[in-house]
Subunit: 712 residues, 2 copies
């Protein structure tokens, strides 16, 4: 695609005043007949120009032999001619002043060398003429408000059961790298009464890419949430800018991205012929940027429902109001496993609710008013009390909404009781809620879910997004202030790497480089004679301990002397090729908790900052947090909160809490360096970084810098 | 509940020939009027006896003043009288020869001290008379085949939209500790066309408990799967026996159990006034017993659909056949993250499929035949080839089943092509599948799902259940053969604990107990003078290193002598009260990977065997596997596979693989000891258990035995 795509005005694509259908067919069974029929059935109000030299009329419209023969300006050309004809047709379109084209035809880069060559010819037309192209190999696009149905998808075909929405201006936009899934998402959204304002299948993205469409959709006033299906982000450089716009507009982007597994990455890579990148890096970057990653269709549509209707909560405090003990307890359980909290209502609210419920009800959380109190209007009263309470950010009303009649009897009361409510309100119906009830609740800005797990997931996503927006306004602080780091001339030993990163201002244990056994003993004395570690120093050894180059906890001069000799001998024996700079004598660190922080290059996304707890092989456990560099202090804390292993930092099993603040600061500083990492550094790894008890800071126990092209 | 509940014949409850409705009311708005109307509307064919002294006739039936006045034998009494009257009514029922009663009335143990007393009176009636009671505080039960609708639930009320199934003999039984959820699950099942043969709300379980109902339902020939919602298992002793029956009958039990979070455990405990137990222990026990744990309603019904319709796969190998690259890749990705494998088809199959698909299709996995090949009947051909291939255990057909007409055009071909197929076949429709298509596929034993995540979850559950059945046939091997372990007379030091567990036959590093510094030096010599560790031995010290009682890697006699003196001094200073047996001189172990294995008592379930990898605080990470003791070797391997941290055992980052076999054997032996753990031992912890390279076994580096009532 072209690099000038940013900020493109795609109105000619999504809101064309005139559409040419190039290759339109008379055979009703043919895919190339369908778009014309669909445009007519969807009531497109602009001008329609079928183009096909074989016909003079189709569906009552005059057919033109070529695009050049169309007498008036054309905004959008829909191209369904066979692949070999496509470059020529696009050339003609450009010559005729057409602004955009959607190429439905397949047989381009996805189909082998000949197709790739054909696609290159399309790219050349784009570059030469400035014609903007969606596709090729796109399933097309759909804009129900404008009646633009530039696709052959059966999902929008009235002959296959498509029923238009009462209000076509839906708040959801769908931008998908899979055509099948683009329209399948529309189909699922319709099935649950969610309004979709735009669908586009991006195809092979010869010109316009996923990020272009997302940006355009974010800019539309009616859009409230964008759903994206992504196989490979070809415009990853646009991600940060796109996400910032989305955050500024408070319009979340929900993304399903393939590549969770090796098998998925292979499938996506072969399918899209693109680098798919490191999945954990995407997850980290998405979290950082407020892009909500989802793993299934239901999850995507549940969150789309929440974000297009519901109110963002101020925090994680959830009240569960129920008349079924079991359903309420299950929901509370699943909310808590997702990191939401369930505090008790205030004493006043408890007393007020207690007054109108039976003894076997509960005024704690879940607030279980029992079926008996529901009959007396207790549900609405309790809901009003909780939704106006300062103790909660969200109130979930748990009930059975299968009986419309009952619901509408008390609807006016519900509406009244929620006026001026301070908490977000959500419904969980444990029976399948009736569509009329769901729609009435939607009118009040209340999302309604039908299973406890899906309710809890939506609540946690909303709380996390609200937290992201709070965090996003913060800027990096405690940074190094250094915006250029020098290129190391050659590989560095640990001591060299320590010198390199000294400007980070993160302390190390006191040390001293010894060139001889005598030196080592002198260092030992100079360091106070306490316990020390000895570590061989060589730019050629990534893993010193593997060659017997490390000895710990030496407490006497003799032991230090002996260790020096042994270390040098062992290193020489194991790696005769390695240049030895000397042996570092380092004070043993006081007790603390080991973490690691690293700057690493990722092939698609750029330089990341990575943090994990030390000890076990946490990378094998997948318990590391990654972000694009740099990060703010709030983001660094979010990274630590994300680690399962970070529980140990807060003091468990009698340990006192560790200096989490200093660890977070170190992450910020290292991220700052990462953001300005010189091109010949592949990564910087501080491992272990020892986290001392609260108030005592951190210590870099080891530092390694990997240059590009040097395997370790 | 009574202890004699096992194996109870509940036919009088679920298939009564005559039902008395005690407390039936004439007020149509009242809950107590509803069961009679529902029994009539559901076409109950047996005799119905309303009982209420206030009336002489209701709904055209004669009303009796008391149960004693009913002239013929009554199988089931449905009791809706106010709570204080319930014990007396049950007494009368017993006197009148009624066999079972369902008590709908609330206000018993769930409502405070007076209710608890009332419930005790009900329990007394049960004990004295042998009347079997469901409830109190039950929402009742439903058996559509027999027309038994002994409930007031609107979910089965034709006046609230309930439409009977074409075939009432559904394969799914629902046994729920929440009445609301019992009937909500029915409602969800109906909504997706799944047949339910029985629903019961267990209420307060004064007599009959969850396990009784599950067992009865397993015994019904029409049942293929049992769904359970559990807040607190009051009959946990029945779990093993129940699960064995289910496995023998190949009828899975799917359980949603509250208690994933602290909040959930608190809610369930206060709600049910029962011990809820350790959640991870339940998860482990459920895995071991083939009870499938689910976390949401959709998941439960998806798996119910699979297990009631689908065929169990022989293994984890899945082929994805698709015409949409995106949908196929997403499904493959999600399958792989769930541990399923996606091998390529055999060369023959690849060549055969290649012959009828376009160049831009793929014959690997996902097999993407493209939309073009679908039109030529390629989908059915490819499906037939893959489903008959020895390379796959399951084939997922990915398509859009929103268009019935198209589906039924090729239905006969589909049926034919799948005849004699060796693989299980599943459909994933990326648009919402039409109910008629779902039903036609069900007729072929093919489950159909509408999202990739839910499809992948169902496939993994089926593969795991099939693996469980294979494992379940194994018996414990390599056991100790010791069926009685002595009660320790007093607390044990490490050396004492080592002596106690010596009979396990798991090796330790060579060691020697030293009473003096000279002894220690002599031990050092006797152990070969290699590096040793010194560890203070005291029955009073659970954590030796916390008091300075451990020194590692000593390589010289002087160092050993000095360490002995220092250790004893440090221990005396830190814990003057601790009796010191001596100092253990132990050879330092060779390099290996640390794990831990423990036997632990769990308050509800019994004695567990627990395994985790060492190093980090894995319990904080939740990365431990637990099972009821004892376990078979296959089960021990399943435990290790379940640990995220066990990846390191298989050789990562240049490490050679560890002796997984020896670790699994150690788990079996320790589980064997756990199964016969004497009552005064609370737990046995072998931590670290060092796993040496493959073929070299394991070493117990430390052993601790905790007696009951001794805090550590």
């Amino acid at each position: 695609m072209t690099s000038s795509a940013a900020g493109t005005n795609l109105s000619a694509l999504f809101e064309p005043r005139s559409v040419a259908l190039i290759g339109a067919s008379a055979d009703p069974q043919s895919i190339s007949a369908r778009p014309l029929r669909l445009m007519l059935q969807h009531g497109f109000a602009g001008r329609l120009y079928p183009v096909n030299p074989k016909y003079t009329a189709l569906q009552g419209l005059r057919v033109y032999p070529s695009i050049g023969a169309v007498p008036q300006p054309v905004d959008l050309a829909l191209v369904v001619v066979p692949a070999p004809g496509v470059p020529g047709v696009l050339e003609e379109c450009a010559a005729a002043g057409v602004r955009c084209a959607v190429v439905i035809t397949s047989g381009f880069a996805e189909s082998g060398p000949a197709g790739r060559e054909l696609q290159q010819r399309v790219a050349d037309v784009v570059t030469r003429t400035g014609l903007r192209v969606c596709g090729p190999n796109s399933e097309g696009l759909f804009n129900p408000v404008a009646g633009v149905c530039a696709t052959f998808s059966p999902a929008v075909d009235p002959e296959h059961g498509f029923v238009p929405f009462p209000d076509p201006a839906g708040p959801i936009a769908i931008v998908s790298q899979s055509g099948g899934l683009a329209f399948a998402l529309l189909n699922h959204a319709q099935d649950r009464g969610l309004g979709v304002g735009a669908v586009v299948s991006t195809g092979n993205e010869v010109d316009l890419g996923w990020a272009d469409y997302v940006e355009y959709q974010l800019d539309q006033p009616g859009t409230r949430v964008v759903l994206g299906f992504v196989e490979a982000l070809r415009q990853s450089g646009r991600l940060v800018e796109l996400a910032r716009k989305a955050a500024r507009l408070r319009k979340p982007i929900l993304v399903a991205k393939i590549g969770r597994s090796d098998a998925g990455r292979r499938a996506a890579a072969s399918h899209t012929a693109s680098l798919v990148g490191t999945d954990a890096a995407y997850s980290g970057a998405f979290r950082q940027l407020g892009i909500v990653r989802v793993d299934d269709v239901d999850e995507m549509l549940d969150l789309a429902a929440y974000f297009s209707l519901g109110r963002l909560p101020a925090g994680r405090r959830v009240a569960v109001l129920t008349a079924s003990g079991g359903a309420g307890a299950w929901l509370a359980d699943l909310c808590a496993t997702r990191g939401l909290t369930l505090p008790e209502p205030g004493a006043t609210e408890q007393a007020e609710i207690r007054a109108f419920i039976p003894a076997y009800g509960s005024v704690r959380n879940p607030v279980d008013i029992t079926a008996q109190a529901v009959l007396g209007g207790g549900f609405e009263r309790a809901l009003g009390l909780l939704a106006h309470s300062a103790a909660f950010d969200t109130v979930v009303a748990v009930g059975t909404l299968v009986r419309e009649e009952r619901f509408f009897q008390t609807f006016a009361e519900l509406q009244q009781t929620l006026e001026g409510a301070t908490a977000a309100v959500v419904y969980y119906s444990y029976t399948r809620a009736s569509p009329a009830v769901i729609s009435a609740l939607a009118g009040l800005g209340i999302p309604c879910f039908s299973t406890p797990g899906r309710t809890a997931r939506a609540l946690s996503a909303a709380a996390e997004y609200a937290e992201f927006l709070q965090r996003a306004d913060q800027v990096a602080c405690f940074g190094t202030g250094i915006h250029a780091w020098p290129e190391p001339a050659a590989a560095l030993s640990e001591a060299g790497a320590r010198a390199y990163v000294a400007a980070l201002g993160i302390p190390s244990p006191q040390d001293c480089l010894a060139g001889s056994a005598d030196d080592a003993v002198a260092c030992f004395g100079a360091l106070g004679g306490g316990p020390v570690a000895l570590k061989v120093q060589s730019p050629d050894l990534a893993h010193k301990s593997d060659v017997g180059g490390v000895r710990l906890d030496l407490r006497a001069a003799d032991a230090v002397r002996a260790a020096f000799v042994e270390i040098v001998a062992a290193t020489r024996a194991a790696r005769p090729d390695a240049a030895i700079e000397g042996v570092l004598v380092q004070r043993m660190a006081p007790p603390g908790i080991e973490a690691f922080v690293a700057a690493r290059r990722e092939p698609v996304l750029g330089v990341l900052v990575v943090v994990g707890m030390g000890g076990l092989d946490v990378e094998a456990l997948g318990d590391v947090a990654m972000r694009l560099a740099p990060v703010s202090l709030a983001e660094a804390h979010a990274m630590l909160d994300e680690l399962r292993g970070s529980a140990v930092l807060h003091g468990t099993r009698g340990r006192s809490p560790a200096d989490v603040e200093a660890l977070a600061e170190a992450v910020v500083r290292i991220s700052d360096m990462a953001a300005a990492l010189p091109p010949n550094i592949a990564g910087v790894e501080i491992n272990p970084l020892l986290v001392l008890p609260a108030g005592q800071g951190v210590l870099m126990l080891d530092v390694a810098i990997e240059l590009k092209g040097t395997a370790t």
